[in-house]
């Protein structure tokens, strides 16, 4: 499998701030890849380097073998980027916007694909409406369409579902998954970790400009087994012996760290000896969010 995106030792500094401290990252063709990280981690900077919006101080970035600086025309044709910020040109309608984008990418008669994009993204009824007249969700859909007019083999989405309702999120992801099925490489950044968990097969985590995790989703989840035992007790007192295992208290239930299910018996025994009855018990499997918090928490920058 060939490499869709390759970052080699990419560094970028904005004055005092080191936004990217030397990123080495490869995204393989056909992957559904998640780039995660807290605000300010450098995800958008990395994406900007890829799109040529920002010039890295050192290091290289390639899209399907084309260097984004030296071979910028080929590189840009191969990638479609949906920026994070909601921006639009207030002078034009939706259809005009998409026609212009097509033209910029060298596509003269793109009507059929534009119509399909409008259809798939639920914009058909607004095709001739001015961009200003659209709601935020619709504007975001147009932004996705803009990135796809030239059918790029690599698609990068920077927080595409921020502030977007559930129905739209479903529509959007269904469409993106379809594209992934057809062979497009997808890279997404999001703060909705459930999305990343559901959709992606490989995950990278960025913190303060450094790569702190990079692995297949399954491997990542397995290596941070943050299983949690959720207990509702009566009387509502956690025995001292179990206090060190306490992760958090939520809505009257105690969340205890459960590294190994073998310790379960011992914990229940401790409770029985303390005269505390278990009213409700639940074993919560690790989700990406807890893995994320674990990774971020461990690597104190």
């Amino acid at each position: 499998m060939s490499v869709a995106i390759r970052f080699s030792a990419v560094k970028k500094r904005f004055g005092e701030l080191e936004a990217l401290k030397g990123i080495d990252l490869e995204v393989r063709e056909g992957e559904f890849f998640a780039l995660l990280g807290p605000n300010g981690a450098g995800k958008t900077t990395l994406i900007s380097v890829l799109g040529g919006l920002t010039q890295a101080d050192s290091g290289t970035a390639e899209v399907l073998g084309s260097d984004v600086q030296r071979d910028y025309r080929a590189a840009r044709r191969k990638v479609g980027i949906v920026p994070q910020e909601l921006t639009f040109d207030p002078f034009f309608t939706v259809r005009e916007t998409l026609q212009f984008q097509s033209g910029y990418f060298g596509l003269r008669r793109n009507h059929a694909w534009i119509d399909e994009l409008l259809e798939q993204l639920g914009l058909a009824s607004k095709a001739d409406a001015n961009m200003r007249a659209l709601s935020g969700g619709m504007k975001r859909r147009v932004m996705v369409a803009q990135a796809l007019v030239h059918k790029p083999p690599v698609i990068v989405l920077d927080e595409p579902t921020a502030g977007v309702d559930v129905a739209l999120r479903q529509t959007l992801w269904a469409f993106i998954q379809r594209l992934n099925g057809e062979g497009h490489t997808i890279v997404l950044t999001t703060h909705y970790l459930e999305e990343a968990e559901t959709l992606c097969n490989r995950i990278a985590m960025l913190k303060q400009g450094e790569l702190v995790a990079l692995d297949d989703k399954a491997a990542l989840m397995a290596s941070h087994s943050a299983r949690v035992l959720s207990l509702r007790l009566f009387p509502d007192v956690l025995p001292a012996a179990l206090q060190p295992l306490l992760v958090s208290q939520e809505g009257g239930a105690y969340q205890l760290k459960l590294d190994d299910c073998g310790t379960l018996e011992g914990m229940l025994a401790t409770l029985r000896e303390a005269g505390v009855a278990v009213q409700d018990m639940e074993i919560l499997k690790p989700d990406l969010e807890s893995v994320f918090l674990d990774v971020m928490g461990r690597k104190r920058g």
């Binding site: 904005f14 900007s48 799109g51 040529g52 919006l53 920002t54 010039q55 910028y72 025309r73 080929a74 590189a75 840009r76 044709r77 980027i81 920026p83 910020e85 921006t87 639009f88 040109d89 207030p90 002078f91 034009f92 005009e96 212009f100 984008q101 097509s102 033209g103 910029y104 990418f105 060298g106 596509l107 003269r108 803009q146």
Partner: protein, 251 residues
């Protein structure tokens, strides 16, 4: 060159969609200048022998409108795109620096010519200027608009706030266009100011342009042609280099 033609078309559509503001308004302004100044100065000033002042004024006003609007087209388009953020949609596609440059500049030249034609079309009913050498008229209209379009591109790239652009426009462009012989012939100026005027490239644009109408000018049209063409080349080279380095457009 599909990218170029799309961006060019888009830039033209952009000003055409608001033609009231971008074409009709400047034409009206020029007509107002004409009416007022000709009323005040008609019987007092004869800039060229045998030429009515009103007729003398028309080419100058037409050129001034062309220049100011060519500048406005590129500069306002770029600053708005930068500030609203939609410049990303121009920077992400595989447009070359040359395509980017030509599309913006030529669209601004078209705007300049449209406004200039509008001014002439309306004012020539008030005082018919001669049209002695139409090719000179066209040459200077194109070159003059190009200079201002390129300057507008530079200003649009450099300015980070509307305020900065306004400063560039009001403290550089407007004085240059006003103090260039639009309203008067520079040979009536005292020696020092005459010298200063000769340093203003806009003077050569207007002088050469007016030569195309009346066959009379303060300096040789060939000199004017050389100065203005030279200015275009220098500015174009500078701007292309600016685009290549990604100054202020790419971080």
């Amino acid at each position: 060159m599909q990218g170029f033609s799309t961006l060019f078309y888009k830039e033209i559509l952009r000003f055409w969609k608001v033609s009231f503001q971008t074409v009709a308004a400047p034409v009206l302004t020029a007509v107002l200048y004409l009416l007022i100044f000709s009323h005040v100065l008609e019987s007092h000033v004869e800039a060229y022998p045998g030429v009515r002042y009103t007729a003398f004024l028309i080419p100058g006003l037409a050129m001034m409108s062309m220049l100011q609007n060519a500048f406005a087209n590129t500069s306002s388009s770029l600053i708005q795109s930068k500030i609203t953020g939609n410049i990303v949609y121009i920077l992400l596609p595989p447009l070359s620096h040359l395509e980017f440059f030509l599309a913006y500049v030529l669209a601004a030249v078209v705007r300049g010519l449209v406004v200039g034609s509008g001014v002439l079309a309306v004012t020539m009913w008030l005082a018919w200027p001669e049209f002695k050498y139409p090719l000179w008229i066209l040459a200077f209209a194109l070159l003059g608009s190009s200079v201002m379009a390129i300057l507008g591109l530079i200003a649009g790239i450099w300015a980070e706030k509307f305020d900065q652009l306004a400063a560039f426009q009001n403290f550089i462009i407007v004085p240059l266009t006003f103090l260039s012989g639009v309203f008067y012939s520079i040979h009536s100026l005292p020696a020092f100011w005459l010298g200063v005027s000769h340093l203003n490239p806009v003077f050569y644009m207007i002088d050469g342009f007016r030569y195309g109408f009346f066959g009379a000018s303060d300096v040789s049209p060939w000199l004017s042609l050389a100065v203005v063409s030279g200015t275009v080349v220098v500015l174009a080279a500078f701007t292309l280099q600016l685009l290549r380095t990604g100054y202020k457009l790419k971080h």
